[in-house]
């Protein structure tokens, strides 16, 4: 049987901003590095789509410093952020932006040569840098790709999906999986492994990120024995783009324009409705994200939604020259696709946007399992119950760099023989999982099953939650775990999307269960987690820890955070 076996000091799994930064940082420290991704390197994930900003306390647009950034972030987190992680990220924010500029990323500068910084909601200072035009994430990915491509210590392995981390005597010693292009088993032996697989937005029917954000890393970490925190905390974006289909825009791009120009939200009858929910005045923009989501949901529920199940966003009352000034080149991108904002309404709706909870790490990005680190959207700690705009890429860049440095400086013995034998065992397991029976066509469409799963999560554990809906969702997701496991696939010798999707579906169903269980357990409304049956914010602040026990069941533990709040 053909197989590929590699060995390295540091293995990085995932290649968004966090993964590429981790790879570069480890290589800078002298380590040999392999970076692996189930998609192409530096093409999938969230970073490349992110069009907005990066929050860093450079203090170039006005007086600012990391302490103020720290306070804003802690304040925004509704008591659930980990101060040590926040401190690490805000302190090194300015440094990583300068590093990116060294890789050719051109942040916008004002006439005095200093970097342009703007205010985003939740930040008390002009702090957010950006790359024109709506190209912050694209330029960041591009710069980091260059930074790892020309580094001889870094090897890149694309289209390889890691399905299991190998443990020996309590330590993580390698990773095993398969190559999509050739459908052969692949193993990588490493001294240290960094998970940088990003978030899980694809678990939800409506989401704003790449198709490959299926949350694989959460399960890899949990199966290796590492704890996850606050998995119920998923950030939903209230007015993401719904209709008409548009190309070349970030689905969340309407928000800053609405903020700046005062776009109105209308229901399906083209009437304003925000005033009756949040007392929001026409053209002003004062309701919080959860309240806006609530109002849109209620209108849809009452039969007053738009044709595609959202609300209309209306800029028609804004004079054309103001629109042109506010939207800049975006107005032409829209016009070229038949959307004239002086005449046309667009439909918007809440969408899953960012995973706030995740793998528990210390300030050096070590998990509780020796040999395993994590960084980027995958980790818990930076955002608590609510992420401020602009803090995601900052988190990815800094935690990626820290993880790479820590991993390179921590050496331990390697066990290629153990990893090799685990590879054979995993390949046998995968054969059983994919092909329990010989069939000439997939027994059920993996994409159809994914849709069912996404609908269950959206209805039951979406932006607005109740015990009844969550209980139903828990029953459904349990059934979908079995259903996704049971489907036999047809053998394909090359580039089988079905085998990847079957694993992803199963992972999503297990991780979805954690989200539902956490949402049931958290009997309050805090930031992104809104329980219609428990609308109050509790005085006592607690975090939720999630562990997989030996029989593969999630166990939840409460961690009192009241004492650490504001420390």
């Amino acid at each position: 049987m053909d197989k590929e076996q590699y060995c390295t000091d540091v293995l990085v799994i995932g290649s968004g901003a966090a993964g590429m930064m981790a790879a570069r940082a480890a290589a800078d420290e002298g380590a040999s590095v392999i970076i692996v991704d189930k998609s192409l390197i530096g093409r999938g994930g969230a970073t490349i789509i992110a069009q907005m900003t990066v929050a860093v306390a450079l203090g170039e647009a006005e007086d600012d410093n990391p302490d103020i950034h720290f306070n804003d972030t802690m304040e925004g987190s509704r008591g659930l952020a980990d101060p040590e992680i926040v401190r690490t990220v805000v302190d090194r924010g300015p440094e990583v932006i300068n590093e990116l500029e060294g890789y050719g990323v051109r942040f916008a500068r004002s006439e005095n040569g200093k970097r342009s910084q703007v205010v985003s909601p939740g930040h008390t200072k002009k702090r957010c840098v950006y790359v024109d035009i709506l190209n912050t994430g694209g330029a960041t990915s591009n710069g980091l790709r260059k930074a790892i491509w020309k580094n001889e210590r870094i090897d890149r392995i694309k289209n390889v999906m890691i399905t299991r981390l190998v443990k020996y005597e309590g330590n993580v010693v390698g990773a095993v999986g398969f190559s999509m292009e050739d459908m052969i088993p692949v193993s990588i032996t490493a001294s240290q492994i960094i998970l940088a697989t990003g978030g899980l937005t694809e678990i939800y029917e409506r989401n704003s990120a790449s198709a490959n954000m299926t949350g694989d890393g959460f399960l890899l970490a949990a199966e290796a024995g590492s704890e996850l925190n606050d998995m119920e905390m998923v950030q939903f974006f209230p007015i993401a783009h719904l209709f008409p289909p548009l190309v070349g825009i970030d689905p969340i791009m309407w928000d800053p324009f609405r903020y700046k120009l005062g776009g109105r939200l209308l229901n399906g009858m083209q009437e304003e409705f925000m005033d009756s929910y949040a007392g929001e005045e026409a053209g002003k923009y004062t309701a919080t994200r959860d309240m806006t989501s609530f109002a849109i949901f209620k209108e849809v529920e009452a039969g007053r939604g738009t044709p595609h199940g959202g609300a209309y966003l209306d800029f028609r009352m804004v004079p054309e020259e103001k629109l042109r000034e506010g939207f800049g080149p975006v107005i032409d991108i829209l016009l070229s696709q038949g959307v004239d904002l002086t005449k046309d309404l667009v439909e918007v709706a809440p969408m899953a946007h960012f995973m706030l909870g995740g793998v528990s790490v210390d300030k050096n990005m070590k998990t509780s399992v020796e040999g395993l680190l994590a960084c980027g959207e995958l980790i818990h700690g930076m955002h608590g119950a609510n992420r401020l705009s602009g803090n995601a890429i900052t988190e990815a860049l800094v935690t990626g760099r820290v993880a790479g440095e820590t991993a390179a400086r921590t050496k331990k013995e390697i066990y290629p023989d153990i990893v090799a034998s685990e590879l054979d065992a995993e390949w046998q397991k995968l054969q059983q999982f994919w092909y329990p029976r010989e069939v000439s066509k997939d027994e059920e469409s993996t994409l159809a099953l994914r849709k069912k799963l996404q609908q269950v999560m959206w209805r039951g554990a979406g932006p607005l939650r109740t015990k009844e809906d969550l209980d139903n969702a828990l029953d459904e997701i349990k059934k979908l775990q079995e259903e996704s496991k049971g489907i036999a696939l047809a053998r394909q010798e090359k580039y089988s999307l079905s085998v990847v999707e079957k694993i992803e579906n199963y992972n999503m169903a297990i991780i979805g269960e954690a989200i539902i269980k956490g949402a049931l357990e958290r009997k309050e409304s805090r930031g992104a987690h809104v329980r219609l049956d428990y609308p109050e914010l509790l005085q006592d602040v607690y975090g939720l820890g999630f562990n997989l026990n030996d029989s593969g069941e999630w166990t939840l533990t409460k961690r009192d955070m009241t004492t650490t709040e504001g420390s």
């Binding site: 192409l40 198709a211 079905s498």
Partner: protein
């Protein structure tokens, strides 16, 4: 509304190259990538294609030959009743169906 007709290259070096025609129901705003994903869901899941961002025109993975020209599948809207030919990129080594070796 009349369906879209997609004439798509199937196969790999081993099996050889064949065109297969698929009919996909038209819906407002549907892209060629959406139509291919519809085929995978409803007709043949073994149709291979690269995609990631789906419509942001960011990842550049869904590059293919559309009626002989290099295009991004996610960025092209299908027209009602349209007939379109989709082939893998010619300049890159072929893997299978619409997928080629990419960096």
């Amino acid at each position: 509304m009349s369906p879209i007709k997609l004439n798509i290259v199937r196969g790999d070096e081993g099996t050889g190259r064949n065109f297969v025609e698929y009919e996909v129901p038209y819906s407002e705003g549907i892209s060629l990538l959406d139509a291919i994903i519809w085929i995978r869901e409803h007709v043949d899941p073994s149709l291979s294609v690269r995609y990631s961002c789906r419509s942001a025109n960011a990842c550049k993975e869904c590059m293919a030959m559309v009626d002989g020209k290099v295009k991004y599948l996610c960025s092209l809207r299908a027209n009602e009743g349209q007939s379109v030919t989709i082939e893998p990129l010619k300049a890159r080594p072929w893997i299978k169906d619409l997928t080629t070796v990419m960096e």
